[in-house]
């Protein structure tokens, strides 16, 4: 039983880190722009298809498609910001309008993926040997371990960017006081576009990792990942990039350790129950309203 619990814990950490990347992307966009990106999951699935197309058409493996996905989707997000977001500021209620707008984008992207890739589930055929690693009685799929390491490296890079670079500090500053950023001569629109690009780029990279870790993906899965993103940011705290990671680990571990003791439906219920409990006990989430340090 102890081995099973540790196995569940490890699986929870692996999934939690991946879920955390979804939440961090959502939180960067919400924190800087106050935009609820309902299409986040669709961008994630698009990232998975991006890796799929590169692999099947050009024979490019996921290790190369990971940075390519970030660059391409960052550029897409950056450009999309100027098409979609500035118009929202003319609305009486920009936050609600952003939710409806991005919901529309989500439906549109889902339909486009269905049209282009059809409804069949796809998967990345990876030839990684050995398929499993045996560590002290624990059976770990090698690909999951690789995905965990990549995700951890990405989180470290993101933390370095946000906390050690001047642009990253400016992104955190704009979450704290948008006017003050403009007053010191920073183009808040351009910085917001960077935040949107960063969020979309992170979604796409997470999509590549998801395609590596999970057996299949399809155009219908976007909403599931968006929902997971919302759960982890509710747990961790809305608008707090690092809070999302903690929330995601909590969600992932709860779900995966519960599977050891209960059937999967109950495990899923417990994961969602955690979110409902958090809303009742601490509606702002674990890191909500805490200093964005």
């Amino acid at each position: 039983m102890t081995t099973l619990v540790i196995q569940g814990l490890l699986n929870g950490i692996i999934l939690g880190v991946l879920y955390g990347l979804i939440g961090v992307g959502l939180n960067v966009i919400f924190g800087v722009l106050r935009v609820v990106n309902f299409a986040h999951g669709e961008f994630l699935v698009l990232g998975a298809y991006f890796a799929f197309v590169l692999m099947t058409a050009l024979g490019i493996g996921p290790m190369v498609s990971l940075p390519l996905a970030f660059i391409v989707f960052f550029a897409v997000g950056y450009a999309l910001y100027f098409v979609l977001i500035p118009r929202l500021s003319k609305s009486d209620d920009p936050e609600t309008s952003s939710l409806l707008l991005m919901f529309g984008v989500s439906i549109m992207l889902g339909a486009i993926m269905l049209l282009v890739f059809e409804a069949d589930a796809r998967s990345l055929q990876l030839d990684i040997e050995p398929v499993f690693l045996m560590l002290g009685g624990l059976l770990i799929p090698t690909v999951r371990l690789i995905a965990l390491l990549i995700a951890l490296v990405m989180i470290a890079l993101l933390a370095y960017f946000l906390y050690k670079t001047q642009v990253g500090k400016a992104l955190r500053a704009i979450i704290m006081n948008r006017d003050a950023v403009r007053i010191v001569g920073i183009n808040a629109e351009r910085l917001s576009a960077v935040a949107f690009g960063l969020g979309i780029g992170l979604a796409a990279v997470t999509g590549v990792l998801v395609a590596m870790v999970f057996p299949s993906f399809s155009p219908f899965m976007g909403n599931d990942y968006t929902l997971i993103g919302f759960i982890v940011i509710v747990l961790g705290g809305l608008g707090h990039p690092i809070g999302a990671l903690v929330g995601a680990l909590l969600f992932g571990i709860t779900e995966q350790v519960s599977v050891v003791f209960f059937n999967p439906s109950i495990a899923t219920m417990l994961g969602f129950g955690l979110m409902v409990g958090m809303i009742f006990i601490k509606p702002t989430g674990l890191f909500g309203r805490q200093a964005l340090r």
């Binding site: 500090k169 403009r182 010191v184 001569g185 920073i186 200093a291 964005l292 340090r293």
Partner: protein
């Protein structure tokens, strides 16, 4: 040189600025006083682009400021502080100053040197790794001043810098502001209710009333102007 001519701003039926004209020569300190609602802050908000004026022109070093967004006005060299400081509360003091130099093109060493210089100047150096939210209200005003000065502006608009500041910090602020024109080749537009400080610091003083300039001149002239005594001092 900042030149403003016939600046007007209305909020619905309220006339906030009724054709204000003024000029701020290089390395001068212009003091602006007036009762609450006389249009002082609205004037600053128009200059730095937070408000779009309804009429009039604002020229800075030969460039028209009207219609420019806030960040572009700042990049031309117009700095601004607020009655309630708009700092980045969850960044350290050093990071507050670092972010403010994003547009300067300086490398990390140059930015650090500039930040260190100004943190020493405003006597907050020992707190440089603290978060800005940990500072007192007066210290936050000093940080805000340092934050605009690191970008080497050509004119700074200071809105009530002495409000809510204890006497010791106020003296430090006065000493720093007094040195800015000559030491940093920068003009100052100083809005304050603190008449003593305004008289001490200003080369020229404007008295505003109901969105217009009631009178102007040096400290002696303003101090003894009957219209000012009646309208502003209420005596």
């Amino acid at each position: 040189m900042l030149k403003i001519n016939g600046l007007q701003k209305r909020f619905g039926g309220l006339v906030a600025l009724a054709g204000v004209s003024l000029s701020v020569p290089d390395r001068h300190i212009l003091g602006i006083i007036g009762m609450n609602g006389s249009g002082k802050t609205t004037l600053l908000n128009c200059i730095n682009g937070l408000y779009v004026p309804d009429a009039g022109t604002m020229e800075f070093d030969g460039k028209e400021l009207g219609g420019l967004p806030v960040h572009e006005v700042a990049r031309l060299g117009v700095g601004r502080t607020f009655q309630v400081p708009r700092i980045f509360p969850h960044l350290t003091l050093l990071d507050n100053l670092d972010v403010s130099q994003l547009q300067t093109g300086r490398n990390a060493n140059e930015r650090y040197a500039q930040s260190e210089y100004w943190l020493h100047k405003v006597e907050l150096h020992r707190l440089r790794h603290n978060y800005a939210e940990e500072l007192s209200g007066g210290q936050q005003k000093l940080l805000e001043l340092a934050r605009i000065m690191v970008a080497k502006p050509k004119v700074i608009l200071l809105d009530e810098p002495f409000a809510g500041v204890n006497p010791a910090l106020a003296q430090l602020l006065i000493a720093i502001i007094r040195d800015i024109p000559e030491q940093h080749d920068c003009s100052v537009v100083l809005v304050s209710h603190d008449l003593t400080s305004i008289y001490q610091l200003s080369d020229h003083i404007i008295v505003m009333n109901e969105g217009a300039i009631l009178t102007e001149g040096d400290a002696d002239k303003v101090r003894n102007d009957p219209a000012v005594i009646e309208a502003y001092l209420g005596a």
